[in-house]
């Protein structure tokens, strides 16, 4: 089911576990098996909720049921023995009542007299020795509130979290020269990350007055920073430890900081460990989602499909607090034009506040919204011009030396054309498209047979590798490698294994740099008292950015050992450790080569490099019910360099299916600012039966600023899956759906509106 081009070698490799039971044909030479795989496969792996802390109490969060209100009082009803539990309100927060993020606008708990800004906002906390007492206590806490007027429509919001305006060329001249001007407005809704492990944190009071938090998270140092500020503790008295984490997808980037504060407040109040384990309902109802967006496109093209003018306006709904909205919007703004050359461009954007739960990080981080819009829009343009979707992309895709709307010259690692051609070839796109057209032409209107219409669609995308702009330089991440006194090699990073393979690929990269096998390299558990702050596990940056730091640290460690011993590292490091003891090398981030990015003008090298992706989807649409079945998908992704083939393919396949879910079935319905389908019974994600066959083709167009050439893989496939499916639906039905997900209702409405009959 999987095609491999970069290294077709599929000879069986020896298994690490267990010896003597080799299933041939899968592992490849030099590629170790998933490091923590055996634990996950036997049930031995311990996730946060699996950990036992004797005497631990259970914690819960009392949340608002208003979208916007003044909190007048928190009433503890008579008749309950309040001495059997602890209750924590904002008044008991020892430090600042803030969840530290980009801005300091979000409180850990709404104070009495303060403003409730969204449904399910945390107001107070309660912990009890057992779940039944906890349940009884929760039922006896009443919030008294005074309703305030709420804003739910982002177009009506007057509170702007961030806005950008980038322009290049002469827009009016571009439109004046165009043969055709096409306009369209595209909408996308919330998407839930839906990691299968719910959020979970356990806080333990330390004997030194500090706090230790174990939990499911992507970014231990984000939680660390938030805890220090809210609890008024220093770094030494604040310890955050990431446990085995059952998926993140951005959903465990920021909200775990909130939960860590809550668990810690309760643990300090009752003097015992406190478990804050969300159930699915609370996790969906309260935690961050992908930003909804409204994207308006106006494009001028020549008859041959050449883009000459692009005007794009983006409005993102940030929800009630700022969270990461400015950087989500920033990435969305920079990616909005798609991977296409256009001399005259203007992109304006804003992220605004509404009285809905805050939106935040989700794989793709602002790019999937805008890339759906530009890809669907380009598809409509191609239809209007009567040229194929492949041809219009060929005509406009960035090539080496092209300049983006934000003035970045693409100097290397530009593979948009390559991924496009590989995808078209693998899917036999034009021939398949001719077949779907023939099938539509031969179908009679009402011949009694099931009216199943086939369609094929194509999307092309790009994804800036790592943080946007000067983000990485400002963060100044540090990674380390140590040779212990016992002669063990250990990578020290705060980057987390959340399923993507961190624990497997870092020993590969470090081992390669040191000249030892990956099995000789350990990776420390992310524990803020042990590992340096190598930055968050986000933005597809772990392998590209932190991998570079670790490789550089390994090279320095190796040089030091070899200089001292006069022999190759692999032969001498144990002896070095015995005679000289512990050696640790820390490596701090140095900016990538290039011109840098100007945050004031929003121009320059916004990203060190870009990843490029193409996706071809084949669908069948039932013309009576408009149900869509996604049959086959080809995903071609240029990730710079493949470190571990199986793991990289896994990222592409998983990201592609999340994108297909985004395009077809995943939708949050709101009423008065509350999510209506906040359960797994009502928020649907694709099952194995909904999922198509996904053929992955990895392309390697290495980036010279990385010692290994890698550009990141996690988010890239998320950008192209939904528009490919929407294009296939348009091919099958004649209707371009401009709002995700492309539900049967929306397909039917679009067909009715555009007068398509069949």
């Amino acid at each position: 089911m999987t095609t491999r081009t970069a290294s077709p070698d599929a000879a069986p490799a020896p298994l690490i576990v267990p010896p003597g039971e080799v299933v041939p044909g899968r592992a490849r030479p030099g590629e170790p098996l998933r490091r923590e795989g055996p634990g996950k496969l036997t049930g031995a792996a311990k996730y946060t909720d699996d950990l036992v802390f004797p005497g631990a109490w259970y914690g819960a969060t009392i949340r608002s049921t208003d979208a916007h209100a003044r909190l007048l009082a928190i009433d503890l009803e008579d008749g309950f023995d309040w001495s059997s539990v602890v209750v924590v309100t904002a008044a008991e927060i020892p430090g600042e009542n803030v969840v530290a993020s980009l801005k300091s606008d979000q409180p850990a708990l709404v104070p009495v007299g303060g403003e409730i800004r969204h449904h399910a906002e945390p107001v107070c906390l309660v912990a009890a020795p057992d779940r039944e007492t906890l349940r009884a206590a929760k039922a006896c806490i009443r919030l008294r509130t005074g309703a305030l007027p709420a804003v739910f429509d982002p177009l009506e919001s007057r509170q702007v979290f961030a806005h950008y305006d980038i322009a290049r060329g002469d827009l009016e001249a571009g439109f004046a020269a165009a043969d055709l001007i096409v306009e369209g407005t595209y909408r996308v809704g919330h998407q839930e990350q839906l990691y299968i492990e719910n959020n979970a944190m356990i806080a333990l009071p330390r004997t030194d007055g500090g706090i230790e938090v174990h939990g499911s998270m992507q970014c231990p140092y984000y939680a660390h920073k938030a805890l220090k500020r809210a609890l008024g503790l220093d770094a030494v008295h604040t310890v955050v430890i990431q446990e085995e984490t059952g998926g993140g997808f951005g959903g465990k980037e920021e909200y775990p900081s909130m939960i860590a504060i809550h668990a810690a407040l309760l643990a300090l109040a009752c003097g015992r460990p406190v478990r804050m384990i969300y159930d699915r309902h609370e996790d969906i109802a309260a935690t961050t989602k992908r930003h909804p967006a409204i994207v308006t496109e106006r494009t001028g093209v020549m008859r041959d499909g050449t883009l000459v003018a692009q005007e794009i306006e983006i409005v993102m709904d940030g929800g009630a607090y700022c969270t990461l909205s400015p950087v989500v919007l920033s990435r969305g703004t920079l990616h909005a034009g798609g991977p296409y050359r256009c001399p005259n461009t203007r992109i304006r954007s804003r992220a605004v506040a509404t009285n809905t739960p805050p939106n935040g990080a989700f794989r793709g981080f602002g790019a999937p919204q805008v890339e759906f819009a530009i890809e669907a829009h380009l598809g409509e343009i191609a239809d209007r011009l009567g040229i194929s979707p492949l041809e219009i992309r060929r005509r406009n895709v960035y090539r080496l030396g092209d300049t983006t709307p934000f003035g970045q010259v693409l100097r290397e690692s530009v593979a948009g054309e390559e991924v496009l051609e590989k995808a078209a070839e693998a899917a036999d796109f034009e021939a398949a498209r001719a077949r779907t057209a023939a099938a539509r032409a031969s179908r009679s209107g009402d011949d009694g047979r099931a009216r199943i219409s086939p369609g094929i669609g194509l999307a092309l995308g790009w994804h800036g590798a790592g943080f946007t702009g000067s983000g990485e330089a400002q963060m100044g991440s540090v990674a380390a490698v140590e040779l212990t006194a016992e002669g063990d090699i250990r990578v020290l990073i705060a980057n987390t294994e959340i399923g993507q393979g961190t624990k497997t690929v870092f020993p590969m990269m470090a081992g390669d740099a040191l000249g030892v096998p990956p099995e000789a390299v350990e990776v420390a558990q992310p524990d803020t008292s042990v590992v340096p702050d190598s930055g968050p596990t986000v933005a597809s940056r772990t392998v590209m950015v932190v991998g570079r730091l670790v490789i550089e640290a390994c090279r320095r460690l190796r040089a030091q050992v070899e200089e001292a011993t006069g022999r190759p590292f692999a032969e001498s490091y144990r002896e070095y450790a015995r005679s000289r003891g512990h050696l640790r090398v820390d490596q701090k981030f140095e900016p990538y080569p290039g011109e840098g990015f100007d945050d004031t003008t929003y121009t320059g090298d916004a990203y060190p490099a870009f990843g490029w992706a193409a996706c071809v989807a084949e669908v069948e649409v039932d013309l009576d019910t408009f149900e869509v079945t996604v049959k086959d998908v080809v995903a071609v992704d240029d990730i710079g360099r493949v470190i571990h083939r199986v793991l990289a393919e896994g990222q592409v396949e998983g990201g592609t299916l999340q994108a297909i879910g985004y395009g077809t079935i995943e939708e949050i319905k709101l009423q008065d600012g509350r999510y209506l389908n906040d359960r797994l019974a009502t928020y649907l994600i694709p099952t194995a039966l909904d999922a198509p066959r996904i053929r992955t083709i990895l392309v390697e167009s290495p980036y010279s600023g990385s010692p290994h050439g890698a550009k990141g893989v996690g988010e890239l496939p998320m950008d192209v899956g939904a528009p490919a499916v929407v294009a296939a639906i348009a091919d099958a039905t004649g209707a371009w759906v401009r709002e995700l997900p492309a539900t049967p209702e929306r397909i039917m409405a679009e067909r009715t509106a555009t007068g398509v009959v069949s």
Partner: protein, 166 residues
């Protein structure tokens, strides 16, 4: 509520006995009373399949089964899939196939996914993609896109099934 037991059943080939309320979820009995935390909770309402276990060989969601219903029956969990050789876990061919093919990523759906795969293979399922997808349709995975899970089960079917072969 049914009484407080004792409830006796066979768990991974060994006798188990608990004295708990009869309506306590099998999931909580396994995880909290018996310390078998391999079975995971993803939704608590029978949608995700993370808590799948075998009850007399049939796949059930342990979050929906009260312990009184397993009294006298046979339960198998992920902890029962590997064999023990000299105190070390020896993975079953199915587990090896998952490891090799990349069928486990974050790992939280993996125990339930393996249980559904074992049931499929034990009833003679082969390496047929459509049949495998049907067999795991009750187990949600958010990481893999299912492609490598289907491949892993097909590999295991080719190599002789999912049960422990000691």
């Amino acid at each position: 509520m049914t009484g407080v037991g004792p409830y006796r059943f066979v768990l991974n080939g060994e006798p188990a006995e608990v004295n708990v309320p009869g309506m306590r979820r099998l999931l909580d009995v396994l995880r909290e009373d018996l310390g078998m935390t391999g079975t995971k909770e993803g939704c608590g309402e029978g949608e995700c399949g993370a808590c799948s276990v075998l009850l007399d060989g049939a796949v059930v969601d342990a979050c929906l089964v009260p312990v009184c219903q397993v009294d006298g029956h046979v339960v198998r969990t992920v902890e029962g899939l590997a064999s023990q050789v000299d105190g070390r876990a020896r993975l079953s061919p199915l587990q090896v196939a998952f490891l090799e093919a990349g069928g486990a990523q974050c790992g939280i759906c993996t125990p339930g996914m393996l249980i559904s795969a074992v049931a499929y293979l034990d009833r003679g399922g082969g390496p047929d993609e459509a049949a495998i997808r049907e067999a795991i349709a009750g187990n949600l995975c958010r990481c893999t896109g299912y492609t490598k899970i289907v491949e892993a089960i097909a590999l295991a079917a080719d190599s002789g099934g999912g049960s422990v072969r000691v």
